[in-house]
């Protein structure tokens, strides 16, 4: 029961959309088509988890944690982008290997789910430049030992599933946000942004 509570709390309180606004642009793009949301969220979860694990290995394998803070701060984007690029290429190759020409239909989802603020933000949160210790918050700390591959994987999973939760909440009210009753100027995207703001306020009120 405790671990279930931990999962639920972590998905809300550590939700990248509601607490850090990370991946909001991707969410807005994804929420336009409800049918593709699960696929996109699943791919983002995959990328977050795999990239976190990969970086965990790099951090300890290559001794990146020992680099001076300023150096880490400057090269972080290059390293993290290279990791996500490698995974992006690998996922595309795997899809092509198993689906052949049909994999072309998934390309744009793979692309959208790899290079975005939610996946990259997960890496910056897990492996901050200004601290020597890693920061697999909530799931990564509670359900696994710190600094382990499992911790990294759980942290990545948590952030990906948090995106799914946010996407489900937004798509659940999407029709109302686009309803005629909503003033024309607010209908759709502006109403969705305000709605995310209200959810964010609710989440922050719990956290504080």
């Amino acid at each position: 029961m405790n671990w279930l509570l931990t999962v639920l709390v972590s998905l809300l309180l550590e939700n990248l959309i509601f607490t850090q606004a990370l991946g909001t642009s991707t969410l807005m793009a994804a929420a336009r088509n409800r049918s593709r949301l699960p696929l996109l969220a699943a791919l983002m979860t995959l990328f977050s988890a795999l990239a976190s694990m990969f970086l965990q290995l790099l951090y300890f394998g290559l001794g990146l944690a020992a680099l001076p803070e300023e150096m880490r701060r400057l090269v972080q984007p290059l390293l993290y982008t290279a990791v996500v690029s490698l995974l992006y290429g690998a996922v595309l190759l795997v899809l092509y290997r198993f689906l052949g020409e049909r994999s072309a239909a998934f390309k744009k989802y793979v692309h959208l789910s790899a290079f975005n603020c939610a996946v990259m933000g997960t890496l910056y949160l897990a492996f901050p430049a200004d601290r020597d210790d890693l920061s697999f918050r909530f799931l990564g700390n509670v359900l696994a030992d710190r600094h382990t591959l499992t911790g990294a994987m759980l942290f990545g999973l948590q952030e990906g599933l948090g995106f799914l939760l946010a996407a489900v909440l937004i798509s659940a009210v999407r029709e109302r946000l686009y309803a005629k009753e909503v003033p024309a100027a607010f209908r759709g995207y502006p109403a969705a942004i305000v709605f995310i703001g209200l959810l964010s306020m609710a989440v922050y009120s719990i956290v504080q």
Partner: protein, 213 residues
């Protein structure tokens, strides 16, 4: 962004990337709680995006799409290094404020600084470069890109001004006589709500202009 009905200046107001397309939301919502931070973020965004998209336009189209996307992101990550050093050189105090571990408007430990490196994967670079900018001739692309960047920076600065006045009772560090301070506007949720209102105002304004035309 539809290349069909095109005007180079569209990105400044009519098709503002933030207000009408929902791009680059996160840095504005979280980091732009003061004008100084908005200006610094805008500078980093402008340098990273302009240079990366322009350099990316020279990559051969013969390369597979996936390889091109990786190259765009990696180029932005390289451009990030001089961009962030430039930011630190121009305004060391604001840069230090951005590096602080506090999420604005809350008592929570956070990492507001991560929004600077996250600019390297903004939608201009990894999505709309291929969908929009690279479909234009290079001279037009350069103009459109600069106006789109200017539009996004303008939105960030307007949001930064309003939030600083409402939440801190100051503008660019100078005290403004406010009867009441609304601290929530410095927090991410305040950023979301303000951005939603700005989007609605933008839409209402341009809907009215269209009707008049």
């Amino acid at each position: 962004m539809r290349p069909g009905t095109f005007s180079v200046t569209d990105g400044l107001f009519r098709r503002n990337a933030v207000l009408s397309e929902g791009m680059v939301i996160a840095p504005i919502v979280v980091c732009c709680d003061t004008l100084h931070k908005a200006l610094l973020l805008s500078l980093a965004f402008a340098v990273i995006t302009a240079v990366s998209v322009f350099v990316g336009s020279f990559y051969p189209k013969k390369l597979p799409y996936a390889v091109r996307i990786m190259l765009y992101a990696l180029t932005a990550a390289v451009v990030y290094i001089p961009a962030v050093l430039l930011c630190e050189y121009i305004s060391p105090e604001t840069y230090a404020a951005l590096r602080s571990m506090q999420m604005p408007g809350t008592d929570l430990p956070g990492n507001a600084f991560l929004y600077l490196p996250l600019l390297t994967v903004n939608s201009f670079i990894v999505l709309h470069s291929e969908l929009y900018f690279y479909r234009l001739r290079r001279t037009l692309m350069t103009g459109a890109l600069l106006f789109h960047i200017a539009g996004s920076c303008l939105t960030a600065c307007v949001a930064g001004c309003i939030r600083e006045v409402l939440a801190y009772g100051s503008l660019s560090g100078h005290a403004v006589d406010m009867p009441l301070l609304l601290r929530g506007f410095a927090a991410p949720w305040g950023g979301f709500i303000l951005l939603g209102v700005l989007c609605a105002l933008h839409r209402a304004l341009f809907a009215q202009k269209q009707e008049e035309a």
